[in-house]
C-alpha cells in the first residue's frame, strides 16, 4: 500500500498512475488466469458437448470408489488452498519459516492429488479407456490432462517460490501471485469434479 501511495507523486506521464492499485506481477497473473479460464471453459464445453451428443453409449466408468477417491482429491485441493492462504498471510508478515512450512503443506496437498489422479488414470487405462479409445477417453484425458499439467506446474512453481522466499530472493508479493495461480487450479477442479465425475451416473 505504501508503494502505491508514494507512486502518486510521480507524474502520470512517467507511469505514476496505478489505476488498478495492483502491481504489474499481480495484474499479469490475473491476465494469464483470464486466458486460462477460457482454455479450460473450452475443454469443459467440448467434453459436455460430446457427452450430450453421444449420451446413449457414453462410458460411465466412475463407480462409488472413484467418486470417493475424487472427493478425497477435492478435499486435498481445497485444503491446499487453505494452507496457501495461510502462506500468503505469513509472507505478508515476513515470517519466513512459517511461510515455507505452509507452502510445503500446499505442495503436499498438490502431490497427494497428483498421485491419486495418476492412479485413477492407470486404472482407467487398464480398463481399456485410453485417450485414443473413444470420444470419452479423448475428451476426458484432454480435460483432466490439462488440469494435471497445471497442478504439476503449480507444485514446481510453489517449490521454487518457497526456496526463493527462504533465500530472500523473492518478496511476499511473489508468494501472493503464486497463490493466485494455485487457487485457480483449485477453482477449475471445482467444475471438473461435478461435471465429469458426479454427472457420470446420469442420463
Amino acid at each position: 500500500m505504501t508503494e502505491i501511495a508514494s507512486e502518486h507523486r510521480v507524474s502520470a506521464w512517467d507511469g505514476g498512475e496505478s489505476p488498478y492499485a495492483a502491481s504489474s506481477k499481480k495484474l499479469g497473473m490475473w491476465l494469464f488466469l483470464m486466458s486460462d479460464t477460457l482454455t479450460f471453459t473450452a475443454f469443459l464445453i467440448a467434453y459436455s458437448y460430446l457427452r450430450v451428443a453421444n449420451s446413449v453409449d457414453w462410458p460411465r466408468p466412475f463407480g462409488e470408489f472413484s467418486i470417493v477417491m475424487a472427493s478425497v482429491m477435492t478435499f486435498c485441493l481445497l485444503s491446499s488452498s487453505l494452507t496457501m492462504v495461510m502462506a500468503v498471510a505469513a509472507a505478508k508478515r515476513q515470517q519466513i519459516k512459517k511461510t515455507v512450512i505452509w507452502l510445503l503443506g500446499t505442495i503436499a496437498g498438490g502431490v497427494v492429488f497428483m498421485i491419486l489422479h495418476a492412479n485413477e488414470w492407470i486404472e482407467l487405462i487398464h480398463e481399456g479407456i485410453t485417450p485414443a479409445s473413444s470420444l470419452f477417453g479423448a475428451s476426458f484425458f484432454t480435460l483432466t490432462g490439462l488440469h494435471m499439467t497445471h497442478v504439476t506446474g503449480g507444485v514446481i512453481y510453489l517449490a521454487i517460490v518457497a526456496y526463493g522466499f527462504a533465500k530472500g530472493k523473492f518478496e511476499a508479493e511473489d508468494v501472493e501471485v503464486s497463490g493466485l495461480y494455485w487457487h485457480f487450479v483449485d477453482l477449475v477442479w471445482m467444475f471438473i469434479f461435478p461435471m465429469v465425475y458426479l454427472l457420470s451416473n446420469q442420463l
Binding site: W30, M84, R93, Y197
Partner: protein
C-alpha cells in the same frame, strides 16, 4: 494487518468450511434420483457459488480496487457466455 489477523484467519477457515460443505452436498446430490437437467442446474449453481467464494476470498478479489474487478469479471463472463452459442447443436445430434 496484524490487528485483524485473527479475524481474517477465522473468515478464511469459514470459507474453507463452507466449500467443504458445498462439496459434500454435491456428492450426496449425485446419488439422488433427479432429472438430469435439474441435477445439472443445481450442480452448476453450487459450483459457481464455490468459484465465487474462492475468487472473492482466497484470491482476494473482494478486497481489490473495483476497477480491477470490473476489468476481469465481466469480460471473462461475456466470453464464457459466448462459448455456449454452439452448445444447443449437441442436442440436435442427439435427437437426429
Amino acid at each position: 494487518m496484524s490487528s485483524d489477523h485473527g479475524n481474517y484467519n477465522r473468515l478464511v477457515l469459514l470459507v474453507w468450511f463452507s466449500l467443504l460443505i458445498l462439496t459434500i452436498v454435491e456428492v450426496v446430490l449425485a446419488y439422488q434420483t433427479l432429472s438430469t437437467a435439474m441435477m445439472l442446474a443445481i450442480l452448476l449453481i453450487l459450483s459457481f457459488g464455490k468459484a465465487g467464494l474462492i475468487i472473492a476470498y482466497f484470491m482476494h478479489l473482494r478486497y481489490e480496487r473495483s476497477s480491477l474487478v470490473l476489468t476481469i469479471v465481466p469480460v471473462v463472463a461475456f466470453c464464457i457466455a459466448m462459448m455456449f452459442i454452439m452448445f444447443p447443436d449437441s442436442l440436435r445430434i442427439l435427437n437426429q
